[in-house]
Symmetry: C2
DNA sequence: CCTCATAAAGTCATCGGATGACTTTATGAA
DNA sequence: TTCATAAAGTCATCCGATGACTTTATGAGG
């Protein structure tokens, strides 16, 4: 639903086909009518149908097989919930990130190796402290460290979710310049690595919570639009 | 990067244009070359370019204005990481869900009210136990309870992320019929509510972890494709 | 010189047709 | 019945043309 925008045929076709899919007009694995038929059904050209189908393919609803046809892959809309999560308040986003950070640190403690610990220390060294200068570059180095912690969990889903939030949080932080949000020092970061290195999930858990606590309480005091 | 799939020109064009966008060849708000020029640049037809551009529009990278041109809306990739998360292994997905469940229960404990607790008990009662019959309906009732726990956290972002996974996990469970994954009993569910009701995050945390432990270890023993 | 209606140019939107590549099904000989 | 081959069906890609809309250039009138 695109409010207040002029209709264009391709978007209309996308909406029409998608609504038929979620209404389960065709079940998963079933074949859609061919492009010429869809074109006739919606009274639009075949090129427009192709644009619509390709969008639905990119959204995971359909799959096209050359020479065979177009098939339904999923009948549930999965892209919208996440785009909504990106519009959640900054505090909600941080809480969600905190959940990931804690669990990732726990898993990292279970799956850590000397190489991984060494890499984390190297990234923390590279990050350094922020002493003026290029804020964007510092945020990038900071993010690289935290991503590495998540990656140490070995959990693909968590890595992807974190990337999702990182992109939007980076934008927000660059905008607000982070003056109101306390940045944990090197020691707090190092504590996380040390806790993971012990191999005890509970210690890793606690270290991350100590790390996040001041940030979250700062966000609680702040007002967001 | 789509491994092992045959190349098709439109996907190649999508990747090529997107990579130029994220590389900031054009800044936000800037206009791309017109369709004919892009067509010549990539040596593909204008129709193929249009398909690629429309996909990038649907992903929030571009915006087209009839009569004017095609403009960059965002240079950061936000939609692809999550679609990848959906293709993560079932164990990874459950671990990520566990992270959300634990943190949500902690927050719910902090923000609980008698009304919320009562609602949770009501949903658990409605869920009941699975004693044969309509599996899909039971999964729906079970999911409704767990979603309510997440909702009790009051965290919008977590709710959305959970919905994202719930859709894909429901499909998977319906397919595998869940025989190999142990389903916690009513008592384990009730323990979570009781722990949240105490208002102590640590107890809620522990209750959820006790709840998830058997599922995760079952998944660890299982082999997934 | 400035204003502003109008013309011209530029660009996306949509259409129709045509050819190639690939898959599935039908065919027919062994 | 088996299996190579032909035929039909379908998506992939290209080309050309027209319409709709926006932006820019133009030039007359003040």
């Amino acid at each position: 639903m695109q409010p207040l925008t002029k209709t264009n045929l391709a978007d209309t076709a996308i909406a029409a086909i998608r609504s038929e899919i979620v209404a389960k007009r065709w079940d998963i694995g079933e074949k859609l009518p061919n492009e010429a038929t869809l074109s006739a059904m919606l009274s639009v050209s075949r090129g427009t149908i192709r644009e619509a189908v390709r969008v639905l393919v990119s959204q995971g609803f359909l799959e096209t097989r050359q020479g065979s046809g177009t098939y339904v892959l999923s009948t549930t809309d999965t892209s919208t919930p996440l785009s909504m999560a990106r519009r959640a308040s900054l505090r909600d986003q941080f809480e969600a990130r905190c959940a990931l950070d804690v669990e990732a640190a726990r898993l990292a403690a279970l799956r850590q190796t000397p190489e991984i610990i060494a890499e984390l220390r190297r990234l923390l060294e590279r990050r350094g402290n922020f002493e003026g200068g290029d804020a964007a570059a510092f945020i990038e180095r900071d993010l690289a460290f935290h991503k590495a912690v998540i990656a140490a969990s070995g959990n693909r889903a968590m890595i992807d979710i974190y990337d999702f939030f990182a992109a939007s949080i980076t934008e927000t932080i660059e905008a607000t310049l982070g003056a109101e949000i306390p940045e944990p020092d090197m020691q707090a970061h190092a504590d996380i690595i040390d806790a993971i290195a012990t191999g005890e999930p509970a210690k890793a858990d606690a270290a991350v919570r100590r790390f996040m606590a001041p940030i979250l309480s700062a966000l609680d005091r702040k007002i967001f639009s």
